[in-house]
């Protein structure tokens, strides 16, 4: 399996800057914005990737299980910080935030403060023997889940039968064993999918999806995504950067005026905002209920991941589609344009690569792919 990365690279979390490439503006390698997929070096054996804004964590789950970090490492007087000092051998899963690295070992969970020089984790918990052989799926842990802000541990009722959990900017989306979806947290951008903008303190079922079985969930900064058993994609939350794949007025305005997208519309409307151009198009800035998105003609979605304001989906036929905020090249289409419609990342098709997985950092995207011959049916 080969891993590729594109998007934000200011901390060399995708690839290191080659000094000789500095003058070569056409080379994507080593720049802050990598807008076309670049193969990761030393990728052999990488099973999973997790990314925070300034770092990438690669999980090696071969015989010697371990985690290696790339990207921002603050060095003070030649002493490296705890990431290098942390013994990650035997680790089964990891998640990374801007400030913490959380590791799941068979018998314990450890949460390391990446900004501290302490040689012990800032938080840890034992895993009882009976849970030790079950699948670990961070941020879910026995009895609840882990976040990177205090309180670190949050309990979850066992009756929910949590199967997977995605933590967004300020919200959470949970998938249960039965295929139901629950959300909680801040709701000001419609990211909870209950039809309003109010926050929820406790997990609340997304009623609009009742009766449909979901198989995976993902969360971005202010949006939520889930994939149905039949490969359908549902989205809700903020669409200011086109991250839902629905028409976004903010994008059209930005491309027309070439103005700073941050100073564009701050829309507080719950339902569709009416377009003001001749096209009579309906723009959506906040989608408070799940909406179905047609990613590609008659293609099932295999897996999906969300960055801060972009979304990436892999189809069962091995194509990668991306949409949303593209300012740092995180959509991989060789531009820094944002899109409000799913678009196939041609690179993989051109290289005869079959994409099998995608993981988004806040401003970048990492994909796992195999050569098409390898799949020879």
């Amino acid at each position: 399996m080969r891993w590729f990365g594109f998007g934000f690279n200011a901390f060399a979390q995708i690839c290191v800057q080659e000094k000789s490439d500095k003058e070569d503006s056409s080379s994507a390698a080593g720049e802050v914005k990598v807008n076309v997929p670049i193969e990761l070096k030393n990728h052999v054996g990488i099973s999973k990737i997790r990314a925070s804004w300034s770092r990438r964590a690669s999980l090696f789950l071969d015989e010697e299980k371990s985690v290696r970090l790339a990207g921002f490492c603050a060095f003070i007087s030649n002493e490296s910080f705890s990431p290098v000092m942390v013994d990650t051998r035997g680790c089964r899963d990891a998640i990374i935030s801007e400030t913490h690295l959380t590791l799941a070992f068979p018998d314990r969970i450890e949460c390391w403060d990446l900004q501290s020089k302490k040689k012990v984790p800032s938080w840890s918990m034992e895993i009882l023997t009976q849970s030790q052989n079950s699948d670990v799926n961070l941020p879910l842990v026995p009895g609840g889940y882990i976040s990177s802000k205090t309180p670190i541990f949050h309990s979850l009722s066992s009756h929910l039968q949590a199967k997977s959990l995605a933590l967004g900017g300020e919200h959470a989306i949970l998938l249960t064993a039965a295929g139901a979806v629950y959300t909680w947290g801040q709701g000001s951008h419609g990211e909870l999918g209950h039809g309003g903008l109010i926050p929820e303190e406790e997990p609340r079922t997304v009623e609009a999806l009742w009766g449909m079985s979901m198989r995976s969930v993902a969360a971005g900064g202010w949006h939520s995504v889930c994939v149905g058993d039949g490969g359908d994609l549902y989205v809700w939350g903020w669409n200011g950067s086109g991250q839902l794949g629905l028409p976004s007025r903010g994008l059209r305005k930005a491309s027309q005026q070439k103005s700073d997208p941050q100073s564009g519309e701050l829309c507080s409307s719950v339902s569709a905002c009416l377009g003001e151009e001749r096209h009579e198009e309906v723009y959506i800035s906040i989608q408070a209920f799940p909406a179905l998105v047609d990613v590609s003609p008659s293609c099932e979605i295999r897996t999906v991941s969300c960055g801060s304001r972009h979304t990436a989906a892999v189809t069962t036929t091995g194509c990668l589609y991306t949409w949303g905020w593209g300012e740092y090249g995180q959509l991989g289409h060789q531009t820094t344009t944002s899109l409000d419609e799913p678009k196939c990342v041609e690179f993989f098709r051109n290289e005869c690569l079959h994409v099998v997985d995608v993981v988004c950092g806040p401003w970048n995207t990492f994909t796992a792919a195999v050569k098409k011959e390898v799949l020879a049916t």
Binding site: V32, Q262, C267
Partner: protein, 423 residues
Amino acid sequence: VTTEQRTTFISTMAFLWSKISATLPPNEEQFPLQFSEKVALSVVEMLKGARLQLYGETTRASRILNAQIILDYSWERLNTGTWRHVDKEWRRVYSYGCLFKAAALCRENPSEEEIRQAIRTCDMGLLMGAAIMGNILQVIVCILQSEIRKLAEEEDNHENNEAKKRKIASPHVGLIKEELAVPRIKCPSLEGFNANHLLPLKPVILEGIIDHWPALNKHPWSVEYLRSVAGCRTVPVEVGSRYTDEDWSQTLLTVNEFIDKYILNKVQVCENGYKAVGYLAQHQLFDQIPELKEDIRIPDYCCLGEGDDDDITVNAWFGPKGTVSPLHQDPQQNFLAQVVGSKYIRLYSPEDTEKLYPHESQLLHNTSQVEVENPDAERFPEFVKAPYLECVLQPGDVLFIPVKHWHYVRSLEVSFSVSFWWS
């Protein structure tokens, strides 16, 4: 543009950078970058990098890119959670981003467009950030604004002359019922106002108390004057008929864009067949543009309250004919001073709150559900029974709206009001 003008322009721009440099600390060591642990070390690293570039040699593109990274990251933090709870540290980081970006834009022979972009950047920092380095963004934006004004002086504004001629007519005869009129009094004494209106919480229109304002005599405010003083500045504008409507939204425009689009109607703004109304409402414009602050004064009667002058919130309300503030109440005393144009205002006592059907939600609890000038008698049967006072507020008038008094406002023509919230 002649060669001579261009040469002058270029040397002016070099001079511009030296003026901006002078506002910055002399070297990297004296440039403060202190943040609480809330700001991740990776972000601090970016900030230090931008500081290094400010005092060192690098490309313009690189400076702008690094500033933009800081802006993009802190902007995301500002949009996380509720505005009230956003950590001040992130607002400071955002301001630093604006500083680095504005400096990068103005460094090497900036064009007029680049200066305007830098002004917009400073304004974003003033609107969304928190003051840093002695409110340096305010200092820099004033320097940039005077550059733009110098350039504008050379231009001939034929169009603007035409707009000047557009005088305000309308006597508004028969609009209010005499028996329901808000009482008027000319220059009452402090004791008189206190005894007859403030303590009993009775609305009144004070006449003659702002005649001395430069805004009404020395620098009479007009659409053109506002353009010249604040045209290139970015301000928040509310779009939509009223803030209780579903299609109400907020956007950011320069004062020039706002005037062109919503005051002078030069640009067709059509939503669903209706012309959209834009309102520069409830904005602390006078903190952003000190020149305008000098044209107004805090009413003496505010000293009857408990707070300091610093506790008084001064807001600008500038919009075309037809802006509506739905019936609502505020938690402080209010002096509403009318400077340009006129407004129809209706007042209801807090005693009659039940007949006004306030919204139940937390967010809109201080707002009535009733459309005052077109009430739904079926949904709100008690409303017509609620007693009220009404008036047409004219330039020079100041309306005293007692704390918690319900008020409804509709502009009858292009209008500029200044409100003072005090306790």
